[in-house]
Amino acid sequence: MDSINAKYVSQKISKVRWRPVSSAALQQPEVFATGSWDNEDNKVSVWSVGECGGAGEDAFEGDPQLLCELRHAGDVLDLQFLDQDRIVTASSTGAVTIFRHHHNNQTLSVAQRWDKAHRYPCDNAPCTGVACSSPELVSVGEDGRVVLFRVDQSGILRTIDNADSSTIHAVTFLRTTEVLTVNSIGQLKLWDFRQQGNDPAQILSLTGDRVPLHCVDRHPNQQHIVATGGQDGMLCIWDVRQGSMPFSLMEAHSAEMWEVHFHPSNPDHLFTCSEDGSLLHWETSTGSDAPSFLQGGRNSTIVSRSSAAPAGGNQSLISAWLSGDSTKGRLETTHMLPSQTLSVNSLDVLGQCLVCGTDGEAIYVNSRVPI
């Protein structure tokens, strides 16, 4: 907790995202983008930690420095990096916007905007989430629509009207043609764009509970494993191939869980943040001898367990998140922030670096996350 760095930024932060680093270089991320909400003028801002060019240990000690910012119409409800220099945002005005970050002169500009991507018959509807799988882009909104775009086309590729009777809170890609949405009545819906019609390929839900789900993230290596977080602060792990019930349920926060993220390169680690002002680091040990429900599964028969642990450190095929009673004993959680009362709205983790943004108008950067 010593290496955590707080910076007050005079705007409530709704989203933070690291700029992706090229996977070839073993680089730590240095640049991240933030979006603000509830301000008279909301902004998309790009920040840098550490001096430009210097990727040494000490370079990270510095405060985040503002590189550039641009006005954003409406609250930034979601923000994703499309690639190294393009950022996609979801706005409360219903617009989906692509910003371009010019590295040479540190400016931001609007590259593409779809106004009213989400709307009611006579009003705008907030767009609540976007997901990218270049060159495709999916947005969801309070109007219950799922909209598919192509980055290089100004038209809309496909709209699923009435995809949901209630608000869709978040979306993520499972495969190139499949997305998963979570809604305000506790359901996960799987959409396959190869199928015509407005019906989901699959609905998963916690029967009877109807607790709204606010966030969803896919396991980086095993696309059938999905984590969601809901209004009651519960963390759910789902296996979309098996049944419509969650695999495990874990009590995490005392209020809305706003975001959940698997660590992109070490998915035994997971991070969650919440309205209750806490940020949790979850760690499960892979325990290769543990019996797994999935072992008999269809897809796992191809690779035997012994070959699943090569020297390269590949993930064992059986995820620790699905190995039976992972809730007891082998799962450790750590609070990542000092006591804090206002909501932690967003977090992102890449390599050993974690960044989060709060309603207390602060950005916290931790560059030594024990992964």
């Binding site: 705007q11 301000n39 018959p121 009777s165 209630s166």
Partner: protein, 663 residues
Amino acid sequence: MEEVDVDPAVTPIPGINVARGRLGFVWGPGDILVYESFSPAAAPLGGPFCQDVYAVRKDEDIYSPVLRKLFNESHHIFVGLQKITFDLPSKTKKTQFVSISKNYRSVIRACMEEVQKLAVSTCESSLAAQYGNQVSILLAVELIWNLCEVLFIDAAQAGSLLLHLLDWVRLHKADVDEKAREVLQYESPANHEAFWDVVISFVLQGRMDEARSVLDKQVSQQPAARSIFKLMDSLLMKMPIYNPGSTQTLTEFDVKWRRWHEECNRCLQDGSFASNQHLLTICKILVCDVDTLLEHKELLSTWYHFLVTRLLYSHPTVKPIDLHYYAQASMDMFMDTHSAPEPLDSILMAAFEFDLHQVIKDCSIALNNWWFVAHITDLLDHCKLLQSHNLHFGSNLREFLLLEYASGLFTHHSLWQLAVDYFDHCPEFGRVYLELQIERVPLDTERKALKVLRICEQRQMTEQVRSICKIMAVRALRNNRLGSGLSWTIRAKDAAFATLISERFLQDYCSKGSFSDLDLIDNLGPSMLLSDRLTFLGKYREFHRLYGENRFSEAAKLLLSLMTAKIAPQNFWMTLLTDALPLLEQKEVIFSTEQTHELMNCLEELISVKAVENQDHLMQVTSVTNPTFCHCVPEHLTLCCSRGTAPVACTVRVPDAYKGSIQ
């Protein structure tokens, strides 16, 4: 009426011609709305009236981006302070309070430094002036806070009191260090024009070691005077400094100090320093020669620096209770007779007089926002220093100021979230304030609504929860989002509104022939029980599902129970009866004799009721399972029933009026 302490400030509003008419205004929580009101006398003259409404803000500072950091950071400290439990031993409590006070001050400092940076970097002169103004306010605030910390929170006793006051002066007169650095970096420091100013400034602040090290540069320049420099050096070195941590008592220290003081006096008397003007001056300062001190007004710059220096060289063991006497005297000596004291001077003087309430009152008047008074009063209240005082309005001083501050925050489009915690810690009126304000937060998105709801739910504010959910539900309905509307209604547990939305669903069903929002209706669960109509909606949909899955006998049983248990509204019975038709026409028997009987009873009951009422209802009813049957349902149904249950006498009296309407 209370007497007004100071005349209110006049704020001219650009664009309003005061000479022409009257001003009307409406109070808001933080702002006031001002407009030119209609004047009957002026109207006939046909003068054009300005139709504009002006929002006049009381508190501009709240909109400064830099000060927002101050508000956010201090909110964090404030919440931490409220968590300090009362059962801690008073010693640890005091250290905690002092450290909290220091945290507040460091936030002010950080903020001030940032504004200063802005002031330097900006090219616009009006903006720079504005920043400069903010810096001076923040400086003053920190100065006052620091003094209050020394006198009230830390409550330093004789001996250590002076040490704290010295620290206070050193912190706020830091330009010495800058000048010293400049002098020492000069190629020959001893010849720098500000050399002696630096040495004397150090001595005035009691920084003996630093004074000696600078003085050392001069020795090499004047080998002839080496001995007197050595003498001065030893005087400076030998000055006793009280150490509160040691075993030395105050009396022992006092004796030691007097001995040193006499030695200084002796040096002055025997003219040891007569050959060197500057060293003589220093020696005079050491023996606290007031005239010499007053000759260095520029170096002292303020009366309170003068006060502390005087105490250092004349009364190092000053007691808190005597402080005000020296303070008053110092101020009188230092200030010109004709210049009136500034607000800052009177605030500091009130602090030296240990008149806490005067300090708070003067600060409230002099400063343009409530941040400072609210936070320091809260801290002082935690130190149990304000208990004797009661207001004749509101609850107590702490709560009154916190409420004012928090109300100001609440008017801000973004900082309102901070205000919630302040209201929470106002036991008497905080909740009422919060209840009134929270309902007025504009809800642009569901996410914001959820955040506001969470605040209300955590505090069991059921009335506000219902109102927010209702706002969201109505908005969803207006946008034709029935499912969303129903979700909000269920969250609010608002039975009446749930009935209304269920009706809309049923209407939609009747007009379209199919259900919308199945993902929601199929998953109502226990929330279905919220209202009768919602229960019916859920159950009726369940019937459709069972029918669709060919589970006819279960479907039939459910259908019948909807009518017999009076769950279905009567105007929907005809639809239900029509739905029964295909079940009756199945090859196998689905309705038992008894069930058929009940079905007939339902039909009979419906017809007898309908005969009295307007039949329009009947005509409107449609059925999805078999819409075309609608017109001849009663007869058809009778027929079907009689076929299924031969022993039962099936005579249904179909009223003439009804027959007529069918044809």
